[in-house]
């Protein structure tokens, strides 16, 4: 304990704030993962199956989803934060705070994740899809039992990438009052020259990333027979 207070005096001094910041980052990340995860998988699947020559080929739907994703991915996140202020206020009731940050986080992350899911599912052997069509399975069966099941290890892989990039987005959202580790790294570490706070915040984020990587790799190994 004394060692910690020696090297991280300001972290110890702001202990409550620091712990709260970890909680906020975890909260923002977790809720955003769940919502963006659903959006990403749904739109990723839509992209894959509506592509020309695929299961539910539909040029119109494909083009619209494809374009929307491209537009959102082109907007830098920091600008998206500002741009979405009215939307956030309409949904959450306020545009400031940890919960409010979830709106831009989800919108910033979902298009990226949808594209990653599309790429992951495109790896599924078309022969398997053909075989399952020949069996008389419905398109929904094929999505669930072929695309998502056969693509699962690839889905986990792209999910890790997405979660890691989401954590970095939460740090950025901190800059506009979302709280979290990014926020204290700026307000305490940068603005008040408390460098140890910045270093500790970085260390915690690195540990989170590492853990996610480890858990992900564990699942991938279990999935690949």
């Amino acid at each position: 304990m004394s060692l910690i207070s020696k090297f991280f005096p300001n972290v110890v001094a702001n202990q409550d704030q620091f712990v709260q910041a970890i909680g906020q980052t975890l909260y923002m990340t977790a809720i955003s993962i769940i919502i963006a995860g659903i959006f990403g998988v749904v739109f990723g699947v839509i992209l894959v199956v509506t592509e020309p020559n695929q299961l539910l080929e539909n040029k119109f739907v494909y083009q619209i989803v494809d374009k929307i994703i491209n537009i959102f991915r082109a907007i830098p996140f920091i600008i998206l934060l500002a741009l979405l202020t009215p939307v956030t206020r309409a949904i959450i009731g306020t545009s400031i705070g940890t919960t409010a940050a979830i709106v831009p986080l989800v919108l910033g992350c979902s298009p990226f994740y949808a594209r990653q899911i599309q790429n992951a599912l495109a790896e599924v052997d078309p022969g398997m899809v053909e075989a399952s069509q020949a069996m008389g399975l419905t398109p929904l069966d094929i999505i669930i039992h072929v695309y998502l099941k056969e693509g699962l290890s690839e889905i986990v892989r792209v999910s890790i990438v997405t979660i890691i990039s989401l954590i970095s987005l939460t740090a950025m959202a901190g800059a506009v009052g979302a709280g979290g580790l990014g926020d204290i790294a700026i307000t305490l570490g940068y603005n008040q020259f408390e460098n140890d706070v910045t270093i500790a915040a970085t260390a915690i984020i690195l540990i989170m990333v590492l853990l996610i990587q480890l858990i992900g790799d564990f699942f991938i190994r279990r999935l690949e027979h």
Partner: protein, 346 residues
């Protein structure tokens, strides 16, 4: 009385619209398949075989024409009805198309998803089908752990899960070695005789077709160029392409090119089914009786549909009239002959 065909294609065409040009992969194809047939479709790569196969279970909608399965025109069916009809048409593929994340057993029970069978009943069925294809001890393995031949056995078991009446085999042995190919073909033949499964056998290898099929169509650039019994194909090939497939043509051309012909010698090819009254000796006799000098250059036999088919290359020496007389005699004995050019004369 002729039974209604189990599958009937009427004037079926499939055109793919490309950016630059349209490809007609299947071009006005019509044929009937009878229940219990092992029906061959042979053609080179790109001939349209796979596309044609996919029209039979409507995985590929034809641009034009009708496909009638068991008296039902597929174009009239709703999506749900079409799925039900697909369950009665099994399909196996060159690359097996098994699901990698599922065990052998889970692969076989996948088509039973909405069958209403209990999990236990599904497993029992998988077990029974695995026995049928001779792979009873592998149900807990993953496809990755199996050899090509074993994978194809699993694929066959899977294709039989919904008790189909028809099995489409699209180049199912093309990725396998000769011994394994033979094993798989033996299984398919067994399914045909024991379960009365109608089989559509697609291949680019005549070896595969002739050892299994009773009927065959030759496909070239989407068109059917030959359609008949397999024996007919060997006895009376109409097209040059067919001759290259049946193998006689290929080899014979080389033989004929290498012949040193005597003056006024004409080369004739005769093809016939060996039987007590039809053999080489009989043909020699027919010609000898006419007093025309003759020699046999080459003889080649193949075993097809439990019969031996022989192809002879003969040289007969004589003037036009004598040759005509020989041909008349052969014709009156119903021999299928062909005059061939080529060879080197002195």
């Amino acid at each position: 009385m002729v039974e209604d065909p189990i599958i009937s294609l009427k004037n079926v065409s499939v055109t793919f619209c490309g950016n630059e040009k349209n490809v007609t992969a299947v071009d006005h194809v019509s044929f009937d398949i009878q229940k219990g047939d092992v029906f061959g479709i042979i053609g080179y790569s790109g001939a349209g075989k796979s596309t044609l196969a996919r029209t039979i279970n409507f995985l590929q909608r034809p641009t034009q024409g009708q496909i009638i399965v068991n008296g039902q025109s597929l174009i009239d069916l709703s999506a749900a009805q079409l799925r039900n009809s697909r369950k009665k048409i099994g399909m196996i593929f060159q690359h097996f198309n098994l699901m990698n994340t599922r065990t052998v057993e889970e692969n076989i029970t996948l088509p039973l998803l909405h069958s209403g069978l209990s999990k236990v009943a599904q497993r029992e069925k998988a077990e029974r089908l695995l026995k049928l294809v001779g792979l009873a001890n592998k149900k807990m393995s993953y496809p990755r752990q199996l050899s090509g031949g074993q994978k194809q056995r699993v694929a066959i078991a899977r294709s039989l899960a919904n008790d189909p009446e028809i099995l489409i085999s699209d180049e199912a042995t093309s990725a396998l070695d000769p011994k394994t190919t033979e094993d798989i073909l033996t299984i398919l033949k067994k399914l045909n005789t024991e379960l009365h499964l109608t089989i559509i056998m697609i291949s680019h290898e005549m070896e595969v077709i002739k050892s299994t099929c009773n009927k065959v169509v030759v496909l070239n650039q989407g068109k059917v160029v030959e359609n008949g019994s397999i024996l007919d194909l060997f006895l009376h090939p109409k097209e040059v392409l067919t001759q290259t497939f049946i193998g006689f043509g290929h080899q014979n051309n080389d033989v004929i090119q290498s012949l040193d012909l005597r003056p006024k010698e004409t080369v004739i090819e005769v093809t016939f089914i060996n039987s007590p009254n039809e053999d080489q000796a009989k043909i020699v006799e027919i010609i000898a009786v006419l007093g025309v000098p003759m020699r046999i250059f080459y003889s080649n036999s193949q075993f097809i549909q439990q019969r031996v088919i022989t192809n002879l290359i003969l040289g007969i020496q004589g003037n036009k009239e004598q040759v005509a007389k020989v041909l008349r005699q052969l014709k009156s004995h119903r021999y299928n002959y062909q005059l061939t050019g080529g060879g080197r004369s002195y």
